[in-house]
Symmetry: C2
Subunit: 438 residues, 2 copies
């Protein structure tokens, strides 16, 4: 991608409205802008990251055997009255009247609507287990939207819903999602910590939150040190295998947010208990027949008929994750994208655009990198050298290849690792060799 | 994909609420279901098709040099008051009050919001031309939603917005989108006809609609025969080249919907004028400074300052296209997907699931086809043979490979072309050879 053709409006000053690092950096690096209180427009760089996060999440859901559907943003009020939840969300639910005075609402979650789809089509135990997921914008009319996309009102969520014939099967479905969550966060280059959680307005008897560790995270967390290094799963999970043991292993570790932390509940060596900070990015719920019973989502079984399905729901905050990733990966100069999510792998910087030698070597390198099937953003703009270098640090692509007249004379190319700031001085062949192997 | 793991709820009867072929077939083949009047949930098969259409459209926009952003579904009322359009949409605009009594609306289109983004960041002619597009759900509160996703209330649209420094440059941007539209519909396997159009509430001095030819289309169209076979563009367009001549060639043909058809306006040989039916799937507008002027989206130029930008907007109805594709590609038995959009290329049908010979040969073929990097849906369900064959015709995958005990005995495999219904009887080697070359 040529930077001159990529719309990335950089802010030079720290915006006043932003209080946390990710919000500051998302505004400064041109990832998003506010269009109304708690409602954001995603600019090209932000959209690419949001798409990468979404794709990783979607692919893991498909690997875990879930079917992708897409429910609308607006829902009829009737089904929420059926489930008995129409009043539960209070003022957080955005209620709407259409031109015919019918009650609609902007979905804050989709248990009711997916149960309505399920009961329309599925009647027999032979069609179970079933897991339906979708990726759609939700709305929660927060009293005080803040922290940018971390606590916006209109936000993107992946929500999955499992349907099973009995309690035991529904725990198997719950475990699949538990492991899928551990895996999808890992594939984003993030360290996720599962924690037993309250169920809130979703309801149910079993629930886990997934917390991303980030120094600047919103809440304090206490956890066993070993949990940070524990690698319970492989990249390629067999979702048809028995996952109970590995779920048990994860949940055997102590982990709690400060609200719930109870030092007395931790019986092991206190030296192993560490304090960190984190951000909630996922939440899974097992709630059995809470919605299927009042909404009569019944199935015929081989031992009887009209058994309300056993259900669970599983959410990942996709737009929130963009903020969370930045909280976990930045320094005072800007963002540092994990390799798993970076929009490009190399940032080629021409320090003297318009200089024939610099232009030629840069275009040659740009085409060479692309021909090696590597991704590259080429800063071919007329900006000053200092401004280009600051921008590269701000937008946080893992490797910068810096080309200027002096380096060309000496036949030396600067390769900068954004994460640690180290610069290697390489010959052309060494540079090409680096690119081909990284 | 194993059909036993794919959620595709088939309806045996024609649903009463559906009046047109695409609506009937989308409900029967399990592509979607209504969740409220004019508001649909997309089921897995429908979601796949919607994604394929969306991807083709998105890729062509990127090829044409547009930048992808994502604006929210809800917009603040203020910007619509600035442009003077807040009342123009009347009851079709869904107006919403949030918990703080602020006026929001569900965007029916995005001229105002994108102009607001533009004026926040772009001040200089050096940053132009700029084209920003997004793919987002819109809402128009139609008085009588009907025809399924063809005239729903919540619908998915790709809308692009061009910004230029003067009239001449903005016509170049308009032409790029004109050609991109011809190309993206072609890449979907559709024949699109450009027609001069009214501008309606969007406004402006120049506008074209893009009509897909379909026998069961919503409106009559009159056009010169040659336009149907005219191939003015290549798959790979150089969007930086001068496109005026090719746009002129397209617009030199006579084409009009019945509302606008004037036989006297057509001066050439009447034998070349044919009548057909079509469906509007795209609409592009050039409206100059209509929004930039009242909203003060001004740019500094090299000859002066504070010139309101010249703009155009460009819409493709993505969810509507799913219906339009089916109107253009179906018969009495079901859908016939164009090869460009089909979710899978082969439908492998095991007529006797549970029979060891049939199961073995089917699994072998299933894995073989996948190893050849071809896409395949394998009907491994316990349904009756007749029901499987009817379902295959209904869901419309281009080629059916039909495996039953008789064929296995004779070592003959049936390959059915869904489009013309012809069955070829092939040996195993002939079948594999067909698959490898198709």
């Amino acid at each position: 991608m040529l930077l001159s053709r990529f719309f990335i409006p950089i802010l030079k000053e720290n915006p006043k409205e932003a209080q946390i690092a990710s919000h500051v950096l998302m505004l400064r690096a041109g990832l998003c802008q506010q269009s109304a209180s708690g409602i954001y427009s995603w600019l090209p760089l932000g959209k690419i990251i949001l798409d990468k996060i979404t794709d990783i999440c979607k692919n893991e859901m498909l690997l875990a055997g879930a079917n992708e559907i897409l429910m609308p943003t607006l829902q009829p009020a009737e089904i929420w009255k059926e489930s008995g939840r129409y009043e539960d969300y209070g003022k957080e639910m955005l209620r709407i009247k259409d031109r015919n005075d019918r009650d609609l609402l902007y979905g804050p979650t989709n248990e009711e609507l997916v149960t309505d789809i399920f009961r329309t089509h599925v009647k027999s135990y032979k069609e179970l287990p079933l897991n339906l997921f979708h990726i759609q914008w939700k709305f929660r009319d927060e009293l005080r939207p803040r922290f940018g996309v971390m606590r916006g009102r209109e936000f993107l969520m992946k929500d999955a819903y499992s349907f099973d014939i009995d309690y035991e099967s529904s725990i198997i479905s719950y475990n699949k999602m538990f492991i899928a969550y551990m895996n999808l966060f890992k594939k984003m280059g993030l360290k996720a910590i599962p924690m037993k959680a309250d169920t809130g307005p979703i309801g149910g008897d079993l629930s886990h939150e997934f917390i991303i560790i980030a120094e600047t995270g919103e809440s304090e967390v206490y956890l066993e040190k070993e949990l940070l290094s524990f690698e319970g799963i492989l990249d390629k999970v067999d979702y048809d295998s028995n996952l109970q043991d590995i779920v048990n292993k994860y949940t055997s570790f102590y982990a709690a947010t400060d609200e719930k932390h109870d030092p007395k509940a931790y019986k092991k060596d206190l030296n192993n208990l560490i304090k960190s900070r984190g951000i909630e990015v996922g939440h899974i719920f097992h709630f059995g027949q809470k919605y299927s019973k009042p909404m009569q989502a019944n199935i015929n079984t081989n031992i009887g008929s009209n058994i309300p399905a056993y259900m669970g729901s599983y959410g990942v905050g996709l737009s929130r994750l963009v903020g969370a990733v930045i909280e976990a990966n930045h320094d005072e100069k800007g963002i540092i994208w994990p390799k798993e999510l970076t929009p490009w792998y190399y940032n080629l910087i021409n320090l003297k655009n318009g200089d024939d030698d610099c232009d030629n070597i840069c275009y040659d390198l740009y085409n060479k990198i692309k021909s090696m099937s590597k991704t590259v953003l080429y800063d071919d703009t007329m900006d000053r050298a200092g401004s280009k270098l600051a921008k590269a640090d701000l937008i946080g692509i893992p490797f910068q290849i810096i080309i200027g007249p002096r380096g060309i004379n000496d036949k030396i190319f600067d390769l900068k690792d954004r994460k640690n700031g180290e610069i290697q001085k390489l010959s052309y062949d060494e540079l090409i060799n680096f690119i081909s192997t990284n």
